[in-house]
């Protein structure tokens, strides 16, 4: 094991950490600001990648896929937060959404039981619309119990959505293992001192740096950023000084989803896009957040770097413990300092 080995391994670990930063920073913000444990975060990552694939298939432009996928998933995240995680107001929109969802399932059930319904679209839609209207009225009579800070309910709700997203992705894009193909320039390697540094890994590091700097600028130099920091520190006080914490909440959730999706597009050329990726990325995102600390961007960066390096060197030097390079440190850190290395309570 010579210098070359260590340099390359460090580079690999850092580039992996860069990807983890993209995935974990969003989750860190969401948890830090809104105290929401979002187990759909992996699904956002996955959908980011899949939407990017569709954009590339439709327009041929990889560069376009990055913002489009990220914004699309940000919108999905926003809707999920506004309608289901924070349930004041918008009752009719929510009831309509839920009613539509259940109505489609009812129509599908009717289609399996009565071939007449499955036979043609008009009948199917008629059943769905009818069911939808009935359900809408039923739902309007029932009140939702707001989730607020109930951790378990957040977990189970977002897991439920994760299952829905997973099945949805399967039905929309199929189950093949796909790959995002970046432009030719990014598929070469830069050769320095006899060592090969793949350009795409450099791109990942660059992206993470750019995003990190942008986030830092937003948090430190803008009013919204100040509002976010105030809410992270003490939400009640922030409300007391007139900060609209609901707006902050929405912004952060959308931003978190945006970052996750960006991670998905970036990672899609490195990891591929396939069913199951969502639940594979989720523990990694949580590892970053836990090790780095929730709500701290700097912490997320350091956490990502640590996880990336530890995972890389762990697998390279001690392959026997490959499965524990992630979870064992998590357990130890949580046992010693439950809020993470840089977290605050």
């Amino acid at each position: 094991m010579n210098t070359q080995f260590w340099v390359i391994q460090a580079f690999n670990g850092i580039s992996y950490g860069a990807l983890l930063f993209l995935v974990g920073s969003g989750l860190s913000l969401i948890f830090g600001v809104m105290r929401i444990v979002n187990l759909s975060h992996g699904a956002y990552f996955l959908w980011g990648g899949y939407i990017a694939l569709s954009v590339i298939a439709a327009t041929g432009s990889w560069a376009l896929s990055l913002p489009v996928a990220a914004l699309a998933v940000a919108a999905i995240g926003l809707v999920m937060e506004r309608l289901f995680l924070r349930t004041e107001g918008l009752t009719h929109v929510r009831n309509a959404t839920i009613a539509t969802g259940i109505a489609i399932l009812v129509a599908l059930a009717a289609a399996s039981a009565f071939p007449a319904v499955a036979a043609s679209w008009p009948q199917f839609i008629a059943v769905a619309v009818l069911a939808g209207i009935v359900l809408f009225f039923v739902l309007s009579r029932i009140s939702i119990l707001p989730i607020d800070n109930d951790v378990l309910r957040q977990v189970l709700l977002t897991v439920g959505f994760a299952f829905l997203f997973q099945q949805g992705a399967l039905d929309i894009w199929g189950g093949n293992n796909m790959d995002i193909n970046p432009p030719k320039e990014l598929t070469t390697s830069v050769v320095l001192a006899g060592m090969y540094f793949p350009a795409y890994r450099i791109f990942m590091i660059a992206t993470a740096l750019v995003i990190g700097i942008l986030l830092w600028l937003v948090m430190e130099k803008t009013r919204m950023g100040a509002a976010v920091r105030a809410t992270v520190d003490d939400a009640q006080m922030a409300r007391g000084v007139g900060i609209d914490t609901n707006r902050v909440s929405m912004f952060i959730f959308a931003l978190g989803a945006f970052l996750a999706a960006l991670g998905g597009v970036t990672g899609g050329a490195f990891l591929g896009i396939y069913p199951g990726l969502d639940f594979e990325m989720l523990p990694l995102a949580f590892a970053v957040v836990i090790i780095g600390g929730m709500g701290s961007l700097g912490g997320a960066a350091i956490g990502a770097l640590l996880v990336g390096l530890a995972d890389n060197f762990g697998k390279a030097l001690f392959p026997e413990v490959s499965y524990f390079t992630l979870y064992a440190p998590m357990v130890l850190i949580l046992a010693i300092k439950p809020t993470g290395l840089f977290g605050r309570d």
Binding site: I8, Q9, G174, N181, S189
Partner: protein
């Protein structure tokens, strides 16, 4: 008020259970062939499951939904990619749907889960994909109602080892997914390669699902001239790219699944020239295969891989067997004997069963090339056949007794004599 309500809820529950219980108990039908099929329909292997079912269905559609003259009732059940769910579904198919046989199972663990069910329920189980070696080797005695129409994991990799010797490979690194399938494919390769004078100098086992090979590639020994890879699913897409990007000039010797038609359409030009071995390639240039590929692609929009072909062939095999049995299902013991007596001309070539109920078949050494095949208009990546080893059995050239005397291929077997 609440007392009444709770009583109502309770009686509803009871009534519901009663209705469910009585409703579910069903009656058997006769005179049609009831086949249960177990595959992942949801979950991360859903696409593979679809390919499996599609392959079987294609044959049924081409033959008017009849096998050997009997009408077929084909029931597909979702095992969600989990062996536990597979067991439930198998029992449901047997106890409730009264199937004559059940087919399928994707993962090795599913194969190990379903085989005992076949013994307990005395119902034929045909593994059309699940390739765990030992099911038809040292464990076969436990499963008298089990047979395989597909392959065993190490089967195609013995000839690959021989081919490597014959083509100038002296020192090879093995990098294979860290699970039983990885061990068995690598073991097959190593066993044959070292038997003809080659040396395996390093064995690396990345966890299944690894897509970042950053930790592993820099550790490759510098004096190797080839690398044997068992890459499954997403791993298969990423490894060749990362190996090339690292500047390595190692030639890749791939296991069957590293380049099969399930992943090949999504790979880029960096895999052109990569060699692999399997008992099937979509690029086999025989009329039978060309017809199969064209029909499959026309119907399902993709080039068939071995998941589809193995199931198509299974249906074909059943067709011939039922016909030979006189148009009826003679019970599992008799049927197994009939299946074993048939020599099939499948799209993948000639197939028959050995005396341990595993196929003897051709193994194709194939190389990825970009060309037009079978009259298709575009240049595409195909696994072009460069050498065929005929009549390969799961025991290769070692002979059954000697082969069974050594343990099943594992992480530590064959031992890495030439690793440092």
């Amino acid at each position: 008020m609440t007392r009444k309500l709770s009583l109502r809820v309770t009686s509803l529950l009871l009534g519901g259970m009663l209705a469910a219980g009585l409703g579910i108990a069903s009656n058997a039908q006769a005179e049609e062939l009831r086949i249960g099929y177990i595959a992942p329909v949801t979950g991360i292997f859903a696409q593979v499951g679809k390919d499996m079912v599609d392959g079987f269905q294609l044959y049924l559609t081409e033959h008017n939904n009849k096998l050997g003259g009997m009408d077929v009732k084909f029931i597909v059940e979702d095992d969600q990619g989990k062996p536990d769910a597979g067991v439930t579904k198998a029992k449901k198919l047997i106890l409730q749907d009264h199937v004559h046989m059940f087919i399928g199972g994707l993962l090795a663990s599913t194969g190990y889960a379903l085989a005992p069910v076949s013994t307990a329920e005395k119902t034929l189980y045909i593994s059309s994909v699940s390739s765990a070696d030992d099911l038809t080797q040292r464990q076969l005695v436990k499963y008298p109602y089990f047979l395989r129409t597909s392959w065993s994991s190490s089967l195609p990799h013995h000839p690959l080892g021989q081919w490597a010797c014959d083509n100038g490979f002296k020192k090879v690194i093995i990098i294979a997914a860290d699970y039983a399938f990885g061990y068995e494919t690598a073991g097959g390769f190593q066993s044959a390669f070292e038997a003809c004078g080659g040396k395996v100098i390093q064995k690396i086992w990345p966890p299944i699902g690894t897509k970042d090979f950053g930790p592993y590639i820099p550790a490759f020994k510098k004096d190797a001239d080839g690398v044997f890879t068992t890459m499954v699913g997403p791993m298969a897409l990423q490894f060749p790219k990362q190996l090339r990007a690292s500047g390595s000039k190692l030639k890749i010797l791939g296991s069957g699944v590293s380049y099969d038609e399930f992943v090949l359409p999504f790979m880029g030009d960096e895999v052109i020239g990569d060699v692999s071995a399997l008992h099937y390639s979509a690029a086999i240039e025989t009329p039978a295969n060309e017809a199969f590929v064209k029909a499959y692609r026309a119907k399902f929009g993709k080039v068939p891989g071995y998941y589809s072909e193995n199931n198509y062939t299974t249906a074909m095999w059943l067709d011939k067997a039922i016909a030979k049995a006189g148009g009826k299902y003679p019970g599992p013991e008799e049927f197994i004997k009939i299946m074993a007596s048939i020599k099939l001309d499948a799209p993948r070539g000639p197939v028959e069963l050995d005396d341990m109920r595993n196929p003897i078949e051709n193994v194709y050494i194939k190389k990825v090339e970009k060309k037009k095949m079978f009259g298709y208009p575009k240049d595409e990546l195909w696994n072009v056949v460069i050498k065929t080893y005929p009549k390969v059995s799961q025991f290769w050239t070692e002979g059954k007794a000697k082969f069974l005397a050594h343990p099943v291929y594992d992480r530590d077997y064959p031992p890495c004599k030439f690793c440092e």
